[in-house]
Symmetry: C2
Subunit: 343 residues, 2 copies
Amino acid sequence: MLTDRQLLIFQVIVDDFIQTAQPVGSRSLSKKSEISFSSATIRNEMADLEELGFIEKTHTSSGRIPSEKGYRYYVDHLLSPQRLNKREVHQVKSIFAERIYELENIVQKSAKILSEMTNYTSIVLGPAVRENKLKKIQIVPLNDHTAIAIIVTDTGHVENRMFHIPESLDPDDIEKMVNILNDRLTGVSLDHLNNKIYKEVAMLLRHHIHHYDLMLNSIVDTIKMPANEKLFFGGKTNILSQPEFHDFDKVKGLLHMIEQEDGIYELIRKNEAGISVKIGRENNNTAMDNCSLITASYSIGAEQLGTIAILGPTRMEYSRVISLLQYLSKGLSSELSKLYQNE
Amino acid sequence: MLTDRQLLIFQVIVDDFIQTAQPVGSRSLSKKSEISFSSATIRNEMADLEELGFIEKTHTSSGRIPSEKGYRYYVDHLLSPQRLNKREVHQVKSIFAERIYELENIVQKSAKILSEMTNYTSIVLGPAVRENKLKKIQIVPLNDHTAIAIIVTDTGHVENRMFHIPESLDPDDIEKMVNILNDRLTGVSLDHLNNKIYKEVAMLLRHHIHHYDLMLNSIVDTIKMPANEKLFFGGKTNILSQPEFHDFDKVKGLLHMIEQEDGIYELIRKNEAGISVKIGRENNNTAMDNCSLITASYSIGAEQLGTIAILGPTRMEYSRVISLLQYLSKGLSSELSKLYQNE
DNA sequence: ATTTAGCACTCAGTATTAAAGAGTGCTAAC
DNA sequence: GTTAGCACTCTTTAATACTGAGTGCTAAAT
């Protein structure tokens, strides 16, 4: 559909624009070493490329910039996977250098390093806890009327919540209850827990403990809490350095969306495994106009855990970012497997 | 030192500028109902006020704006405490409306409401955990080589950390150790814990448990973790709406400082009890130029727990913000006392 | 001795114009 | 099919002038 020469010109336009953020004109193109024909020829080809919708003008007599369709084509067909250089490999590896055992810490650090390396904003969707399996439930009474319920999952995630102890409850009953719960529920994944409690365990409790229901509700609440997985950010202010965002309303909208988190969650969540690139309006969010989002998932074995993402202008270094995300997500996956795979 | 008329003029200038963000001129002042003399008279008085350093010009023929010294005087001498209206009282009370037992949640919500009410950025320094007293230590083994240490404090704060189990350790010994620790350390405040462990408990452990030291280190690490108290923010992007921050470099510096958190921590931390107002360069931080920070502490009984703060332009609604912070910090203190005071 | 009116002067902001530079599209020659 | 050439468009920048808000000072009025 495109001739080789059109392809060449298009590629050079995109590459140049990604670097300089300036519309690319025929004359400056003709001076590039990869291009051997005159500016007039280029102009003809550019007119065709524009008609096909791959590039556009910012005004009647300006140079050309890639359109969203153009970026899409570029990403789908023209991207040459870029090898990371030693420095970059080293930086990514530094995430795993210290022996940190906290999943959250690793994830947090990933976001930080990623944003520093790219100068874009990085977003990491923390591990989904809902598929974790229950390891232990504990209840620690604080005083006569409050106690704290703690649940630990098999990946070492700890969730806790305070609750009110019903007046009428015998302290011994608390212990009894915790024992029953641990006995029956260990190994059950968190999103099945709710079901299992009411279907199988509630009856059992009723036999042994008075007012079991009041306390049970608090525990169920604790389990339900992490409805949305946690988001981690790096370089939230990096967008301010991008020339395309030297516009207050634009920045305001974007930062506001980031602060709210809901919008981001929407954007990142619905993603299949592997790398995905969403360009501009493909994100279905006006705040994301002129922005691209590249996401990659990380996992333990076959179980998809979470997502890492880079948010930048549509004029993004797709090749480098994709390589980076690929490398990091692979690293994360293998490192986490090492830690949590119950071999 | 200032005549009544100068005081009046100064007050009107500050009030007007706080509202409009525009330099105030003699003519517009003379039209105000509180002022009964001519613009020429005002000009003379303003010249004096400028000489005294309370107001300044943005350029030779501009109206006047308050100087930092002026704001300081205004805050110290001219502020009339403003009563909150019903709506505002209601909004603050809504923070405590739901029966939330999580300290963190209350604090988080305070930050949110505060920023919404003021349109400035709010910062809340979470409760200092270090003076909490240990309620319980627990260790939950996840698999053969990792376990998770959990400590619970008397205010219901939960801290946890994963660690490596030394190969040579007998599983029974873990339980033994936890029992000894709980026995000896319950009721000790977190910042004394470290000391107490090495001085009194370590010896005891040595008698009973092989390789106790490896594990002990992990537990000590867990305790040490929350070195800085957690910061909560509200309305980080509100600064973008303030006209004085329609300057990219300014905003970038400020948002960057906020993102880093260290700087903020420095600013907020060193504060006595009660309300404190720091204006512009009094904050000793170039990113805070043209910004004021108002802080208030909250406490349980005599024990100072944390700080709530509002960050805005020096042209801030001091009166309203101070009233608001006063009211909220009092509310927070009493509400938290109700929850955690072990009556 | 204050207060005020009047006037010359300053400066930011805005609009207008002109000129320069980058780029295009089209046509005609190669 | 390719290229040189030219007219044209549009942005950017600088220069210029004008307006309006405001000041400082002086001299008159109170």
